[in-house]
Subunit: 294 residues, 4 copies
């Protein structure tokens, strides 16, 4: 099914708006960066197999933090109180020591100083996507998803970038060195343009919430994506967008009426590596060659 679904996304397009001719929007929630799915995402960014990324604040910062110190495997059942007393934060069955966030602070604060400086002296108009681009450059580490997004000019959108440790740092920093502005208007223009000017688009969305809605809403601006794959464990009965079937998106014009979208009701950490292996990685030699010959 995925073979059929994804093949056309890769082929039969000759637009100039994306490397492949088909603009692929990839969205994922932060837990997937915390988990081992990060490596599959990094692979896609490294080889320019996706064109636009949307994620949450945690989906950004946890990638950088993993470059600074490791995340550990724990258990879902570990007691919050005992972990708190030991300075360990739990993300599902993963554990991140407080010290990792201290390292992140040490790394980030001088960059924030520099950003404020550039805003004041060069008039830089910062947006979340520009900040992520800069951080991808600064981390300078091939393990990072956003290093490769920087290298390969893949824009990464995260409108609520302050909703996480990055926001904590920005908050603390604003008392020492105030004035930073992060504008979300310029980013919505940039994201929507990616959809509007694409010849064909495909959406691969892991999880729900903001990342699912944001990509689908951008594709509404072009009367719908041509291809769509949703992977999540959400259910429609509570009326949430997270659990909505692709057919709801068709009513909005977020997916084209003649598309054949797919929803995989499964944990992305189980199925996404399998999907990447059987689609992008399986066709890697051809896909990478096509990109190079652009």
């Amino acid at each position: 099914m995925f073979e059929l679904q994804l093949e056309p996304v890769q082929e039969g397009c000759d637009s100039h708006t994306s490397a492949s001719g088909c603009t692929i929007f990839l969205g994922y929630t932060s837990n997937l960066i915390s988990s081992g799915v990060r490596e599959s995402i990094r692979y896609l960014a490294q080889h320019r197999m996706v064109d636009v990324i949307v994620t949450t604040a945690g989906g950004i910062e946890e990638d950088f933090i993993k470059c600074l110190a490791p995340t550990y495997l724990g258990e879902f059942s570990l007691k919050g109180k005992e972990l708190r007393q030991q300075g360990i934060n739990r993300i599902g069955n993963l554990l991140v020591p407080n010290d990792n966030y201290c390292k992140f602070e040490d790394w980030l604060m001088p960059i924030l100083d520099q950003m404020v400086l550039e805003q004041k002296t060069e008039g830089t108009h910062w947006t979340p996507s520009k900040m992520i681009h800069r951080l991808g450059k600064e981390i300078n580490n091939p393990d990072s998803v956003y290093y490769w997004a920087y290298k390969n000019d893949i824009p990464v959108f995260s409108p609520a970038l302050t909703d996480g440790s990055l926001g904590d740092m920005i908050y603390f920093h604003s008392y020492k060195n105030p004035g930073l502005v992060l504008d979300i208007v310029e980013d919505i223009r940039r994201l929507n343009s990616k959809a509007v000017f694409a010849e064909t688009t495909g959406m691969i969305i892991l999880g729900g919430g903001l990342v699912k809605h944001h990509i689908a809403n951008a594709n509404l601006m072009r009367n719908g994506a041509d291809f769509a794959v949703f992977v999540n464990t959400g259910q429609e009965f509570d009326g949430s967008d997270s659990g909505a079937r692709p057919d709801e998106a068709i009513s909005w014009g977020k997916i084209r009426m003649d598309a054949t979208p797919v929803k995989v009701y499964a944990d992305a950490s189980i199925v996404f590596p399998l999907l990447v292996a059987e689609t992008f990685a399986h066709n890697a030699s051809r896909l990478i060659k096509e990109k190079k010959s652009d």
Copy 2:
């Protein structure tokens, strides 16, 4: 259980940061505004029973749109293609005609013009929460949650305010009258300060995703909320924050170690009206009197 959980949030506090002494953060996803839960939320805002609101873009715009034209009851199984051909958008089992969004555009565009003007002439530094405050004033309709939030000075945060119809309008408007800036840095300062300077805090969070994480993260800034009630249908097994049990938040310091948080595994549209009836509404005469005597 809720009686016990909520009682202390209402009583035994005498801080000056919130009307009641206890700062209650209410979060909810957009589908709850689309559904009839909106009326319960409006009731809480009208009577100043909550102190801070966090929601998504849809949670903002659907409230205003409902003031302009009705939402209809449909079925989850209505075909997306047929709805699209009739210009009807589906939200779970609810239906919103395209025409409602046209009315929203007609209402919003002059306000956006005015906002750009004020930015340019008065130096107004717009943030999502300031924009919502202004829209609540402009709608001037007692059916609206945000009219009451405006009247009662309840700040409403929505950092990804561009993720929805509001973003579409801002995007279109930016070509006709460019320059609007919506800064999320000032809002994170404002939100975190609400938590940091509160004597005690309580979190009531309906649904997952950004609204759940954003309130919990703000409460991390004060080493944890004193009270927490989560209502959602998410599960922890996929490692998402949406489905995480409150005990995960304790490991982070988002809920205090000695708190007794509750997660209700249920559709908020069924249980939230029951919860409000048995807690806030049951104690309404006392709660409202306390607020008035501030």
Copy 3:
């Protein structure tokens, strides 16, 4: 919706196969008897508001055990090992001490002796439904669902009656006093006949698994139930009958093609008491009078 759904089940029928003219099949999983939903079910049996009951072994035995000793409210998170060491068994957030099962054994063993005796001396051909009828008579307690089922001649089917504490007791007893036979063939004849000879039928099924399939399969014998209400938290994506939508049952002829079945995606312990209150209890005076005048 339930008002509409259930009204016709109660009215407009004049068959002689059931007290009301409409044969209502009620199914529920054992946890609902362990929980407070038992009282709603007992109410329906007491007032002959349902005509056929299907449940699992636990749905039978926990009703009797509650007549012998109380079930306690605990927590989902209580540690299994510690409970085991204290001789306490957990059912969700409910606790049942081992001693309750000892009392059940003391009550049941003489009845099993008597059943074996009757089989040997009178040629009684025991089936699960006949055994449940006898136990309902023996318990002689108006708190018991099956006491009222016995009093009101409501047959109760549970083909896998050995799958629980009853089975444990039957297993132990078979070494002391062997020979008891429980035949499931006579019961399937009896259950299917209830559907085949009914003028109209309605199915109210709480939860999934055997109870859902068994009632629906019996209604297949009559080319489908006229009315159907499913209440469960199951999802269809894994292909299980538990989570299947009513529309799947229409393909089988388990529900009529022109029926308007309803699936409520919710925890029955929250919604079933509300449903009973708004339908059966709301119309109680009329329903009870109709039954009496039969």
Copy 4:
């Protein structure tokens, strides 16, 4: 994880109650036989890699029906009414024509005649497990799970064997040739003995409902299984046994206090073939040799 979990089940045991020394109970719901997981289960039965099987009526009959005519791949969204009009039954996204059940009837009826004859002339005391054993012999087809269970003397328990097409046939047949008795008491003795006399036991349970409870309850008779792997999508919050975590089974003594049971929150049709590949199949040459040398 599964490697670790299952290794000890295969090794380090030297009892004589099972081929391997460790008695492995495998349970699964009927949808898994309808799906392609049947082939993984058949593989385990063929190579005597499991010792006891528990399934529902559908889990029995669909295996035989697949030997008589194919099941087709459809869609979850196919309309029940249209399928009914075409004589096609839907099981999730699978389709089974009515004609398949006619073929099943043609095959089964003479066997039922023979069973009644043997009961009357030879005093055969039929139980569900004995009937399944006979059907496995009669089907005589290496594609069948129960052919291999018959060949390898793996008992298969299904106490509610009348809950499905088998029950329909037995019901129809009982009017033409009455008298068949299927006793569930002898089967509970046989199943419980399998657990009681085993040196060590392991439970592998796919899905919930009867199959999960029945295997766990049998292991209660020996104070708990030594190893347990549950694979299902159920959640604990509604208090059902289907969704209960293994820790609930520890409170009952269904799993040993010192065991390290695992629950995989996933669709068995995705993960079970992967699990079999990495455990049983990976060690196949050694496992098969051990069995042969018994």
